[in-house]
Symmetry: C2
Subunit: 423 residues, 2 copies
C-alpha cells in the first residue's frame, strides 16, 4: 500500500471548521488506498499567542522552557485533528515529536534533526491507523529535552519522517497553489510551476522564495524524496519538487525555473582594507563570531597604487547593527579606513538548471535590468543561479522586468490564488 | 536541606500577573533554605477552552486524544512558571508528568497513579534547580500513552510526588485560607481549622467538602504525609492535615472537626423487593455495571407479613436517570414493585475523631436538627462521622443549626476569605 506523508500548516488549521476540512481530506487520502502519516503545525496564531504569554512573564525566557511552551501548540492541533478524523468514522493516533522518534541535537529553538526512529508510527500504521505527528518539535539525543526546530520546522519534520518511513511522496499543504515563477503579489502574471528540480528549489528557497524553507528542501534532496507542494483549499495539483537523477538533465524542463527576490538584506562595505593575505579572513571571522550569516561577498579589484581594497557583503537587516558595532569595535585591529552600512538594497535571483546548457542567460538578465534603467551594485553566481543587488525601491520593477524578459509571464489568464507567505 | 512540594491550582495561575506572583512565592521558599518541587494545574480557564475546542470538532472525542489535548494546558503553565522564576534570577526546570515519572494505569481521563519514578526530578533538585511538574497527567505503564488523572488530579500528583521524594511537607495552594468548619458561603461564622487529622479530612472530602479531593487525602494518609492547605493570596498559615499516629489519639484535637454538606446527590428507593438473600446484591450488581458510585444505602426493616422490603440508596444526580433506566429495564428479573426517584435531597455530615471517645455526639446532632424542625430521611454512620439525608431546600439551615449546636461558630470576628471551591 502506498505511504503518503502530508503536512498541514497553521493557516490550514486556523479553527474548528478548518480542522474538520483537513480531517476530511486526510480520510479521503486514506480511503483512496494509502497509508497516511500527517504532520501538523500549531493552529493559526497559537504560536504567536504563546510567545506573547512568554513575553508577559519574562522578557528573555530560557530557551528550554520556551520550547516546552511552544510545543504545546502542535500538541493541541494534532489531538484535535485526530478527534475530527475519529468523528468521520476513521481511526487516528497522534504522537508528539518525541513519541514519533524525531531525535535532534540540543540547540533549543533551532534544533536540527539528527535521526528519526519512527517505531511507534510504523506500529500504528500497520494496525490500520492514520498517524498524526506534531511538527516543529523533537527530543534531544543527549539530554532527552524537548526541542523545537525553528522556522519551517514542520516542513522539515514532514520530509524527515517521509524519508525515515520510505514514503512514496511528501505532500506539503499550504495556502498557495504551489511554487510560482515569481511572487504573484509583485508579478501578477506569475504562474504556478508544475514541476521544479530539487536543486532549483533549493536555490529558490535560499534566494528568498518563502513557500518551502531551505532546510526542508535540503533534507528532501539528500534523501531523493519527491515533494508535492499544494493548496489545502483546493484539489488542484500543485508543484512537484522532484529529485535530480544523477548525470541526467531533465530535457523537458524550462531553462528558467523562476525569479526570486529578497528585500530583507542589508549591505556593509568595509572601506580601505589592507590588500594583504588574511585581511578578509579577519573580517569574516569577526562576523561569524557574532553568529551572523553572510550571504553575498564581493571584493573589489585592488587599487595597486594604494595597497588597499574594499570588501562588501550582505547580511540580514536584523543583524546589521550588531555586525557594524563589532566591526567598529575592532577597527584598529582590522586596520580599515571606514564602514558603509546600507539597508536600502534588494536582492534579485534568477534560477534555472537550464542555465548550465544555455549560454547567454546572464547577458539577457543584465540587459533586461539595463533596459529598465536599473543599476546593478553586486553580482554573484552559482551553476544554476545569478543574483544581483539593486536599490531596494527598484526591486519590484526589477523582478517584473526579468520575469517578462525570460518569457515567464502567463498568457492563459490563469487565476492565481496567493494568500500569504506560508510557513 | 528540607524538601517542600507545592501545588498551585488554576485560579492561582489565572494570568501572567498571577504566574509572576506564584513565581515570587516559589523563589521565597527556595531562598528560605528549601529544595522546592512545584506541581501546577492549567491556567485559569484553559482546560474549559480546550474542552470547547474538542467539542467543536467531535461530540465524542476518543479519550486518548482528549488526554493528549488537555495535557497541553499544564505544559503551558509549567513552562510559564519556570520562565517567571528565571526572570527572578533563580533557575527552574519544568517536566511533564511523563518526564517526572508519574506512571499510571491506562484508564484515559481517570487514570490512577501506580508508581512514581522521579529520577529526573531528583537529578534536577540535586543540581540546585527548582523543579516544576505538570499536574493532572502521567504516562501509562503498559501502553506508554499520555493519561490524565481526572478531577483533583493535580493535588494527587503533588501528594504522590511528595511521597516518592520523601518530602517534608506537601503544600496545596488554593484560593481559600484552608479547611473550614463548614462552607463559609453557607455558614458565615465558620472558621478556619488550624489542624485536622488525615482520617477526618478523608471523611470531610468524602462527604462533600471540596477543598481537597478524596483521592489526594487517601494517598497522603497511606504515605503518612503532612499536607498544608493554604491560600496563594496571603502568607497566613492554612490548615495542616496531619497523619494519624498509630494507637495514639490527639488529645488536643476538638471533638468535632467540621460539618460537610453535599447537595449533589439523589435518592432512589426500590419499593417491594423480595426480602430474600441475594435481592440487594442483584440490585447493586446491576448499578455497579452502570459504573455508578453508590454512597449511602438503607434497607428498611422487613415487613414480615408481606415478605417484602424497601431499599433506598443515594448516588450522584448526574447518574440518576441512567440508574433508574437500568433498574426499570430489569424490573422483572429483580422482582420489585415500583421505583421512587428523588433529586430534591441534601446530605449533611458531622465529622470528628473525638466522637470515638465522646458518647452523645449523635444525640446532640439529631436534637439540633429536630429543634430546627428538619426531618431526617436516612442515616448512616462511620466511626468518626454521622451523615443524614434531609430535604434539599432545608440543607443550608441544617448545616447552620448543627454548626451552632456544636459550638463551632467563630466568636473572634475573623475575616473569612472564601473565593471558590478550589480544584
Amino acid at each position: 500500500m502506498p505511504l503518503v506523508v502530508q503536512k498541514y500548516g497553521g493557516s490550514s488549521l486556523a479553527d474548528a471548521e478548518s480542522i474538520k476540512r483537513v480531517a476530511r481530506r486526510i480520510v479521503d487520502t486514506r480511503k483512496a488506498g494509502n497509508q497516511v502519516c500527517v504532520v501538523v503545525s500549531a493552529m493559526g496564531d497559537t504560536t504567536d499567542e504563546l510567545l506573547d504569554l512568554a513575553d508577559a512573564v519574562s522578557p528573555a525566557p530560557p530557551e528550554r522552557e520556551l520550547d516546552m511552551l511552544l510545543t504545546a501548540g502542535e500538541r493541541m492541533s494534532m489531538a484535535l485533528v485526530s478527534m475530527a478524523i475519529a468523528n468521520l468514522g476513521d481511526s487516528a493516533r497522534s504522537f508528539t515529536g518525541s513519541q514519533a522518534g524525531v531525535i535532534t541535537d540540543d540547540a533549543h529553538g533551532k534544533a536540527r534533526i539528527i535521526d528519526v526512529t519512527p517505531g511507534r508510527i510504523t506500529d500504528a500504521l500497520a494496525k490500520g491507523h492514520i498517524v498524526i505527528v506534531a511538527g516543529f518539535q523533537g527530543v534531544s539525543q543527549n539530554t532527552k529535552e524537548i526541542t523545537t526546530l525553528g522556522r519551517g520546522g514542520s516542513d522539515t519534520t514532514a520530509v524527515a519522517l517521509a524519508a525515515a518511513l520510505n514514503a512514496d511522496v511528501c505532500e506539503i499543504y499550504t495556502d498557495v497553489d504551489g511554487i510560482f515563477t515569481a511572487d504573484p503579489r509583485i508579478v501578477p502574471t506569475a504562474h504556478k510551476v508544475d514541476r521544479i528540480s530539487n536543486e532549483e528549489m533549493q536555490e529558490m528557497a535560499a534566494s528568498g522564495a518563502k513557500v518551502l524553507m531551505l532546510r526542508c528542501v535540503e533534507y528532501a534532496r539528500r534523501f531523493n524524496l519527491p515533494i508535492h507542494v499544494r493548496s489545502s483549499f483546493s484539489y488542484r495539483e500543485g508543484t512537484w519538487v522532484y529529485p535530480a537523477v544523477e548525470g541526467e538533465d531533465d530535457v523537458e524542463a524550462p531553462i528558467i525555473a523562476g525569479v526570486a527576490h529578497d528585500p530583507s538584506e542589508a549591505k556593509i562595505t568595509v572601506v580601505g582594507v589592507k590588500d594583504t593575505p588574511g585581511s578578509a579572513a579577519a573580517i569574516f571571522n569577526l562576523i561569524s563570531q557574532q553568529q551572523v550569516n553572510i550571504d553575498m561577498i564581493v571584493q573589489n579589484v585592488s587599487a595597486v597604487a594604494t595597497g588597499k581594497t574594499d570588501v562588501s557583503f550582505t547580511l540580514p537587516k536584523t543583524d546589521g547593527q550588531r555586525a557594524v558595532q563589532a566591526l567598529q569595535d575592532a577597527k584598529d585591529a582590522l586596520g580599515f579606513e571606514s564602514l558603509q552600512y546600507d539597508d536600502q538594497i534588494g536582492k534579485l535571483s534568477l534560477i534555472g538548471s537550464g542555465m548550465r546548457s544555455h549560454p547567454g542567460v546572464s547577458a539577457t538578465f543584465f540587459q533586461a535590468l539595463a533596459d529598465a534603467g536599473i543599476n546593478i551594485e553586486m553580482i554573484t553566481t552559482s551553476e544554476i543561479r545569478v543574483s544581483v543587488v539593486t536599490r531596494g525601491d527598484l526591486l519590484d520593477d526589477a523582478v517584473r522586468a526579468v520575469h517578462t524578459a525570460f518569457g515567464l509571464d502567463s498568457s492563459d489568464g490563469e487565476a492565481v490564488v496567493y494568500g500569504g507567505t506560508g510557513r
